[in-house]
């Protein structure tokens, strides 16, 4: 994962709450087996509307999304994070994030910065007054700066450290592999195993056909 310390880019005010993962990337785009190639899928339904913020030339090259509360609610699809990154976003700012989305962001180097809603309003106004205005996000100082506005943001200390170091979780966990092995030795015999597979007797499943 690439290290993240500070980022400066065009701020995009998205005045909507509850931006769910089906809006960020509709399910029909989840068929790919890669982690890239999702930029066209980002906000696919909304991008059909000419007035949508990312269709306005000044915001098109945005890389810092400033959204309403409860961003990323809904499904666990990490594709939502991949699509935002593919489009060019490095930071999403909101007053509240859905837990799974926030977790996924942290794993993929997309900064999910929690900012007070009253400060979000200030940022929205500044970005709307001057479309294309840049925002600087400092992970080191935990601040968001837009012109003469500087506001703090919250992020979990551990996630911040991992983002700044660009560290891979699996590598970190495997440093404690002995603990995992020791834990496994204590598990009760009744705990189920998927293998060898046990099932009810095999039965034939007849294929349904379209109605005549």
């Amino acid at each position: 994962m690439e290290k993240f310390t500070t980022h400066t880019g065009i701020g995009v005010p998205l005045r909507r709450s509850n931006v769910d993962t089906d809006q960020i990337i509709p399910a029909v785009y989840l068929k790919r087996v890669t982690k890239t190639g999702f930029d066209d899928a980002l906000f696919a339904a909304w991008r059909g509307d000419e007035s949508f913020i990312l269709n306005q030339p000044a915001y098109k090259a945005g890389s810092v999304l400033v959204a309403g509360p409860d961003f990323g609610t809904g499904s666990s699809r990490e594709h939502a994070v991949w699509a935002l990154k593919d489009y060019g976003f490095r930071v999403v700012i909101a007053s509240r994030f859905a837990d799974i989305f926030r977790g996924n962001s942290g794993k993929q180097g997309l900064l999910a910065a929690v900012v007070e809603q009253s400060d979000i309003e200030l940022l929205w106004k500044a970005l709307e007054a001057e479309p294309g205005k840049e925002i600087t996000v400092s992970l080191e100082d935990r601040t968001v700066t837009c012109g003469d506005i500087t506001v703090p943001f919250e992020i979990d200390d551990y996630v911040r450290w991992r983002l700044m170091e660009g560290l891979d979780d699996i590598g970190l966990t495997l440093q404690n592999e002995e603990d995992i092995t020791a834990f496994e030795a204590t598990r009760s015999a009744w705990r189920p195993k998927t293998l060898p597979a046990k099932t009810e007797p095999k039965q034939e499943v007849v294929a349904a056909r379209p109605a005549q």
């Binding site: 087996v33 339904a45 499904s75 551990y158 699996i170 009760s188 705990r191 099932t199 294929a207």
Partner: protein, 477 residues
């Protein structure tokens, strides 16, 4: 002071306590995979030269991207076929058990796990799917994860996690006739909001919860994520033990006795404190439906479409305005008057045998509304076989419904089962987001009873509304 059930489950799976702000390392007892959120995780393992640590604690099914018709033919959509083939190849390469399309144990991952007896009390269960919270109905700590975490679990059988907060949802009293588990959870979400559960594990408690069957408990826990919660759970009791016993992977003999003795300890201590408590009186509940574009925008079926002008909170007012515009609704319209194009019965929320039985009982001997399509999709192939053994397929087909193979189907607009733009559905699934069931589609979330009654009348209805229909057509009730 005592501890809550969620805290007990956490403590019993602690591999390593995090120090200096680092997360705890939690052991995962069961990892379920499906075709959509796993390919990039397996690719990650391959690139790093890693193996799956515990194939014997991992299982995969094909559900999200599979058709529900012509399952014996190659999948027509090439990208979808590639995704399914990728899962099959990964399962083979990494030695993972897979139940493929056409197999009697294929189906929606959250229906398959409990049915095989792989979900039990006291476990940690994860899957790259937010509705993994379903398994919490057994008194397990079960939650959805992203693809990076899927890779992490495949490689290490653990997850680094920060402890959750705990919330009690007390549903007191007795449910009125005609109301179901689905109405409980829709009312809970309407009360606490789609973000109300963020950072929490919910424990559903109270007499109304205790009296629910296992399948109904799964419906409640399934939609915990719709309140923003990481997980939802219910303490195991005799109902739970009876459901697990005798299933293919259930413990036997002395193992069973040992397991049950342990499971009986899995309750929140009387002197334990939750971080938050929410109370609901079951007697106040009615059949619930959603009118908007998030699961928190719900009301009793007897209500009218709300007027955004009467909503005090500016953010919620704007959300309501957007929702009404998308849904094509006018403030003040009775919800009962809304004409429904498609009724969908199925999904990990309401695609189990009890759901099919309940709906079949309502429609039996009645006629489908002529302009309403009724799609019935069992949650798993076993559910379908069971329903067919009971003759439920005939009830649905005679009524004019489409009887399909198992899968996620119209719950999400991914496989061929989708709404057309502006088409309005009454759906037993879990999300009414814009475009969730197909681009431009308009979703009202309902219980299986409301779905069935709606298919009879053609407008949003509950079984209580069918009395007048029966008088008109002279059917015996």
């Amino acid at each position: 002071m005592g501890t809550t059930l969620a805290e007990k489950l956490w403590a019993s799976h602690l591999v390593r306590k995090g120090e200096g702000g680092a997360p705890d390392l939690i052991y995962i007892d069961l990892h379920m995979c499906h075709e959509v959120t796993s390919p990039q995780a397996f690719e990650g393992l391959r690139l790093a030269g890693r193996q799956v640590r515990r194939p014997d604690l991992t299982i995969a099914t094909e559900d999200h991207n599979t058709p529900t018709l012509d399952i014996d033919k190659p999948i027509a959509d090439l990208t979808s076929r590639t995704q399914i083939d990728t899962l099959r190849n990964n399962a083979k390469e990494f030695g993972i058990r897979l139940h493929s399309l056409g197999d009697a144990d294929q189906g929606v991952v959250h229906v398959v796990g409990p049915q095989l007896g792989l979900t039990m009390p006291g476990m940690t269960v994860v899957c790259g799917d937010s509705h993994t919270s379903t398994h919490g109905a057994f008194g397990a700590l079960a939650f959805g994860i992203g693809t990076s975490e899927v890779e992490h679990v495949l490689a290490t059988q653990t997850l680094p996690l920060k402890p959750f907060k705990t919330m009690a949802i007390n549903v007191n009293g007795e449910l009125p006739e005609g109301t179901t588990a689905k109405d409980i959870i829709l009312a809970v979400i309407a009360k606490i909001g789609t973000g109300g559960g963020q950072g929490y594990v919910l424990e559903y408690r109270g007499d109304a919860i205790k009296s629910l069957s296992m399948e109904a408990r799964m419906t409640v826990c399934n939609m915990s994520i719709e309140a923003g919660a990481r997980a939802g759970l219910i303490a195991p009791d005799q109902t739970t033990f009876d459901y697990v016993q005798g299933r293919p992977h259930a413990p036997e003999g002395a193992d069973w006795d040992e397991a049950v003795d342990y499971w009986k300890t899995l309750v929140t201590d009387e002197d334990a404190a939750f971080d938050t408590e929410v109370n609901l009186e079951a007697a106040d509940l009615e059949p619930f439906v959603t009118w908007g574009t998030n699961p928190g925008q719900g009301l009793p079926l007897s209500a009218n479409v709300p007027n955004p002008d009467e909503i005090a909170d500016a953010d919620q007012r704007e959300a309501a305005e957007n929702a009404l515009k998308y849904m094509g609704l006018t403030p003040g319209q009775p919800l009962r008057s809304l004409e429904i194009d498609t009724v969908f019965l199925g999904s990990c929320t309401n695609g189990r045998i009890e759901d099919l039985r309940a709906a079949a009982e309502i429609i039996q001997g009645r006629t489908k509304a002529p302009n309403t399509r009724f799609l019935v999709v069992p949650g798993s192939a076993r559910v379908r076989l069971q329903a067919e053994a009971e003759g439920l397929d005939k009830v649905f087909i005679d009524f004019g419904a489409e009887w399909r193979n198992a899968g996620c189907s119209m719950c999400l607009g991914m496989n061929p089962d989708q709404l057309k733009p502006q088409e309005r559905s009454a759906s037993t699934s879990n999300r009414n987001f814009e475009g969730r069931q197909g681009k431009g589609g308009r979703t009202h979330l309902v219980s299986p009873l409301v779905a069935a009654a709606t298919a009879v009348r053609g407008t949003l209805s509950s079984p209580a509304d069918l009395a007048d229909v029966d008088v008109l057509v002279g059917a015996d009730a």
